[in-house]
Structure formats: C-alpha cells, structure tokens
Symmetry: C2
Subunit: 407 residues, 2 copies
C-alpha cells in the first residue's frame, strides 16, 4: 500500500475550492501520509508528470490560512474527459505507473460531474488490475448541480456574492427619477440555482429583484417584455436576473437570437454570453427607456473577498471526510453533504458511489419555481439562505486581500 | 439668514457618496441647523418640491452607520444641467422661493463637474439677487477627474474594488494549462484613473495585469493584437484592463468599431459598452485561443461590500468641511483634498472657487503613462496606493451587508 497521497483540482474554479484542498492536505498529513502531492492542471497535468509536493509550497500555517482565502484552483485545473480504458489503455498504464513511482496510496479529485467521471473510471480500472490505490471524489461547483449531495461547496459563496451584489445593483439602479431596466446575467447553463439566489436580495432593507428567469423554464422574449411593460405602470425601475442558459420553447439560446455566430470555447462548448445584452437591447426598443446589461461573468465564481463562512467550512470538511474515508478503506466514492434540518441549519457528510454522481445534473425542482415562471418559492429561499451565512474575513495587506500562488 | 440646511446628491452614484451625506448631516446638525433637508433626485427633484427631513428618516446612530455603508445615492440623483438664468429666470425664481419657504440658509450639493456647475450658477444667481444663502460643493466621483482636488471621494473605493477583483480574475484566468486572453473593461470615458488602478493588482502574491490601456492614449487594435501575440510567446495567459472610452487615432470609440449602432442613453450620451467584447472577439480571430470579456459595469461604483476606509473617511470629512465653511460665511466654493505627502499619507482640505472646477476634467498626466502606452508608472501607483488603504467592515445581517433606503 502506497504511503503518499495525491490531490487534484478539476473543472471551473470557485472561491472555496482551495479550502477543500487544505482539508485534504491537512487530513492526509495528520493521518500519516508522508508526502501529499498536488497534480498541476488536474489529471491532464499529472499525465505529463506535472506535480508538486504541497509540504514544500505551503511553508507554514499562515500560508494555509491564506490559501483558504485564495480563489480559483491553486494547483491549476483542466477540462479533460478521460477516455475509457477500452479507448486508450496505454494512458491508464502510464498514469498508474506515475502513481506507483510516487508511491501513492490515496488519490483525491476535487471537482464536479466531469471530475467524478474521472474518479469512476480510475477506481474501476484500479479494481480491474488489482491496484490498492483508493480513489475519492470531493464535490465542488458553483452551479450546485451535483447529484447525491444536498448542495455543493462553492455554491454558497457564489450565491452570497450574487445576492450581495444584487442588493448593490438595486440601490444603484433606483437612483434616478426616470424609467430604467437592468438585466443581470448569471452563470448556470442548465441549472438555475445561482440565478435563483438573486432572489435573496429581497429583505427589510431592499426591494428585491422583479424577476428571476431560470433555464429550467422555457423563455419567451415577448412575454418577458410585456411583463416589464406592465411592471413599469407602477414602478419605474425594473431589475431582473436571468440565467446565461435561457432558451426559448424551441431550444434556441436567447444569447444566440441576435443571429450572431455562437462563440465557442476551446472545448467546443457554446460560450453562453450575451443573454442580458440581448434582452436589454430588446427592452430599449420596446420600452424606450434607459437599459443596462450586467454580466457577473467570472466575478461570481472567483469573488473570494466575500465568501460564505458556512461554505468555506463545508469545503474544508468534505476534503477531510474524503481523506478519512480513503484511509478507512473506501474507494470509488464521493463525499456528499446531507442536510439534517434548515432551522437550525444542520448537516452531515455521507459517502456515495461515484457512479451515481458522474455526468448527471441536478436542476431546480419545478415546485420551487413560482407558477408564473419568473420567481422562486419560499422553499427555495429557505434552502439557500443557510448556505450564505457568516463571513471569513480576507487578510488585507496594503489595501488588498492577500492570496498565495505557485510561482 | 435661514436657519435650515438642504443637501442633494447628483450625477453617478458611488460607494461612499452617502458618507458625505452623513458628514453634511451631522456637521449641520451640530452647528445648529434646525432641519437638514435632503432633496430627492437632486436639484431636479427639488424643483418639484421633492424633499425629506433627514432627521425623520435617520432614526438613530445605527441608521447613520448603515447609511455610510450603503452604496449609491440615498436621496436619489439626477443628471440635469441647470439652464443659465438668462435662459430660464423663472426656474431660478421658483427654486429660490422653495428655498425661502424651507427657511434654507445653507445649500450643499455632492457631485462631480456637472454638479459644480449647478453650485456655480446658483451662487452667482444668489449673489445677483442679494440672497444670503450659502452654496457649497462637495466633491464626488469614481472617475477622479475633478480639478483642484488631489483626488475625489469615491475613487479610492472604486480603485480598491478594481484592484481586488483584478487579483481574483488573474487567479481565475491562470488555472488552465492552455492559452487564454481576458479583457476587462473599466469605467472612465475620458480619464484613465480607474483603468490605471488595475495595475495595483501586481504584488508579491500576484503576477499583475499585462497591459492597462487608458483613454488618454490613442489606441490601435492592430498594435494591441500584435503585442498580445508577442506576449503569448512566453506566457500563456494574458489579462488586460481597458478603458470603456478607448478611441482609435481618428477618434472612433473602439466599442463602435464593430459597426453596431452606438447605444445612446436618455441624455444622448453614447453608452460606451462593448470595448472588451470587441477586443476579445478580435483576439479570438487573430490568436485562436480562449478569450473572455468582462465588464465591471456598475459593480465598480456600487461595490460597498469592499470599500476603502481612507476613502469613506475622506468622503465624510469633505461633507463636514463644506458645512464648516458655509457656516463661517463661504459660498460658491468646493471643498478640495490637498495631499501633503505620500509616505506617510497626509492630506488636508482646502476651499476652491467652484468656477475653477465646474465642467473641467482632469486626466492622467502623460508622464504617469509608460512610454509604450500600455502601463502606468511608479508615480501613478504611489499616488493611488494610499487611497485604497484599510477597510470599513460591512454590517452583515442574515448573511448579507445591511443597507438603508427611503421607502
């Protein structure tokens, strides 16, 4: 049995993914791992033997505190789908030989549904060749779309960023005594968890947004404009939150309705950007008032200067729980968060077969979306609110939050 | 001599304009003003007799603390240029009769160059009719483009938001082991103060941005792309900050180069949005790599969850200094901040004839822009750095920063 551990980060960054990394690192060290290696750029980097020894880059406990507050993936990340062993057995042989060379007994991968696919494939292949390396998944995604976990680390902080910023946008949008429309675009290709979080802005001290449009509900531009027109009969400033992934009845992305060539990223995914711009322009034409389009873009996932302490703590804990499980003999599993109650908010961690998570997507349930399709229910809010509670103060140096990075 | 004071907020909101409002309110009360009125929606609202009594809406000192942390203009704002008395003397008569009715002795207006034009006109007209009302300007603008003040309240917090967020974007942009270009668009139509502040991101813990492109320097898309191409020979991820107001040699806004009809706001101003999008698209074509366009949009001016304590304190102080000056007999002046030294940072307030401020614009001096036109000098950074120091912690309630608003 190998005596070292290795950990990787995969998929899109979050504000708290490094807290999970710290959780894995500290738990593995305290359970006796001699070295805890970090793969650079996920499993893709590991295949090129890009890795570091975390004990060497994290010099002391202050480094570790700062790493918890540093956004994005400290180790680097990849968007890489492992081929199956049938497609490329050589790749698996190469990877396992690298793991043997490093004397790895424990392999941790922090990521979303694609990353859990990696854990599933590696643990299956490991079993097929009689390897005793234990492979564990640590959940992470701002999108909150993983199965078998009440919610995902990363979501709470993104939701808090969105709700806090939405409150500020609302204050800003209402200052003039003229009609206006502000459309804010929020991440979430197929799942509206983050867009729905914009509804948290409504409170004693804030009017809240006028609509939240989730990708779960087919979208009609015409109905949207009519609704804004009606709203402006009694309130001059309209602020709405829309998902980047809104589609019309026939499945066309709203951001592609302007006839522009769809922008695709290096992986062939449609880059969903421009939904707010399209709707704001349509509102300008139809309503003839001042409009503004705002995209939260990467800010919502990397805004580590305002994180949820609940989230950052949970991110840390799922890392530790994965290590505990691996050292106790588990493999091919993901740590999930199970909610015990909303009020008081209580949760625990449980293990799930990673095959029941990989490649699946959890959407906002229909009963949590209001009948008119432009709001979320009290149940939705009661679910999200505990996840944005409390703060972890940034460590400010010379006026700016301090981070740590690999030179 | 009227025994009451009135205060208004005008122009674009900032994260700290309400701190100036609190400064005026508290100083006027402590100097014996019986009522301190707030004009709703600036002088435009006042002309329609829209005002409130601030002692009635601010119930206690906690309200006042929260108001300091509330972004945007508590009283509402306007973008309204007073006609001259020659053009519309009736308007002036109406306005002064409202002021008499409210028994106003002191009139304060918090705003930028347009707002100082309002103070200039009102104090001139007041003098011409022998009014004893004292009119004082309180500086405010994230753009930092006011004359006769070392810097403007609002700038420091916007600069801190930009630098802090830029650090986060840098961390986020560098996670993949593939080439990428991120273009971030920052406010400042003609003055590059805020865009230059993106250069503050560079520190021990951050690589910093690769270029800052200010509107003071004529811009060439071709040179910009060539430079990125060269940069990618030795570093894979490029992050640049560009001003929304970039123009080519012939004066065309970069955001209008795509041939799109320019978006104009209700005031006929070109809405300068799309510079980053245009440049990111151009980079995709030329460099064939993953690109991303990010607009800070209103977030940079309303981000009160991360403010500079230096800025918020100065905003408070210029409000108080304006009241002191008015009660001591001054009129037709603006309070300016005068820097005594950078290190240690020391400053004082001075009074300036408002005519020497109104309608003028202070740009970044040419000697503070690097010769290659894509950077700022150490002098620029030494000038900005003191203004982003220290924080004012938001008051979090139920996970979100608390605000106050007029119902």
């Amino acid at each position: 049995m190998g005596k070292n551990a290795i950990v990787g980060q995969s998929g899109g960054p979050t504000a708290v993914i490094n807290s999970s990394l710290v959780g894995v690192f500290q738990a593995a060290r305290s359970r006796g791992a001699e070295h805890v290696y970090g793969m650079r750029f996920g499993v893709k980097g590991l295949l090129e033997e890009q890795y570091i020894d975390l004990s060497q880059t994290l010099r002391d406990t202050l480094d570790i505190e700062i790493l918890k507050r540093t956004p994005a993936s400290y180790l680097g990340s990849c968007r890489y789908k492992l081929p199956s062993p049938e497609e490329d057995v050589e790749l698996y042989e190469r990877l396992f030989s690298i793991l043997r060379k490093l004397d790895i007994g424990y392999f941790f991968y922090i990521g979303g549904n694609d990353s859990m696919d990696t854990i599933a494939k590696l643990s299956d292949y490991g079993a097929s060749i009689g390897s005793d390396i234990r492979f564990m998944g640590v959940p992470k995604t701002i999108d909150n779309d993983l199965m078998n976990t009440d919610h995902t680390p990363g979501f709470g902080s993104a939701a808090k960023y969105i709700a806090a910023t939405m409150k500020e946008i609302l204050r800003d949008s209402l200052v003039y005594d003229t009609r206006s429309v502000t459309v804010v675009e929020i991440m979430g290709r197929n799942a509206g968890w983050l867009t729905g979080a914009a509804a948290l802005a409504k409170a004693e001290d804030c009017e809240g947004v006028d609509m939240v449009c989730l990708p779960e509900t087919p979208f009609s531009v015409q109905r949207f404009l009519e609704r804004m027109d009606r709203l402006q009969n009694w309130k001059k400033d309209i602020v709405v939150a829309v998902s980047e992934g809104l589609r019309t009845e026939d499945g066309t992305y709203v951001c592609e309705l302007d006839g522009h060539e769809a922008r695709t990223d290096a992986f062939g995914h449609h880059a969903l950007t421009g939904t707010a711009r399209y709707l704001a322009d349509a509102a300008t034409k139809q309503l003839g008032c001042r409009t503004r389009a705002i995209e939260f873009s990467t800010l919502q996932r990397c805004g580590s200067h305002i994180t949820s302490r609940t989230d950052i703590t949970e991110a840390f804990q799922v890392g530790g729980a994965a290590v505990k499980a691996a050292f106790e003999g588990h493999t091919g599993e993901m740590v999930g968060l199970t909610r015990i109650s909303n009020d008081p908010y209580q949760y625990t961690t449980e293990l799930h077969d990673v095959h029941t998570v990989a490649n699946l997507e959890k959407k906002v349930p229909a009963e949590w979306i209001t009948r008119d399709g432009v709001g979320v229910t009290q149940e939705f809010l009661a679910y999200v609110r505990p996840l944005i509670q409390a703060e972890l103060t940034p460590i400010y140096v010379d006026g700016l939050p301090r981070h740590i990075y690999i030179r």
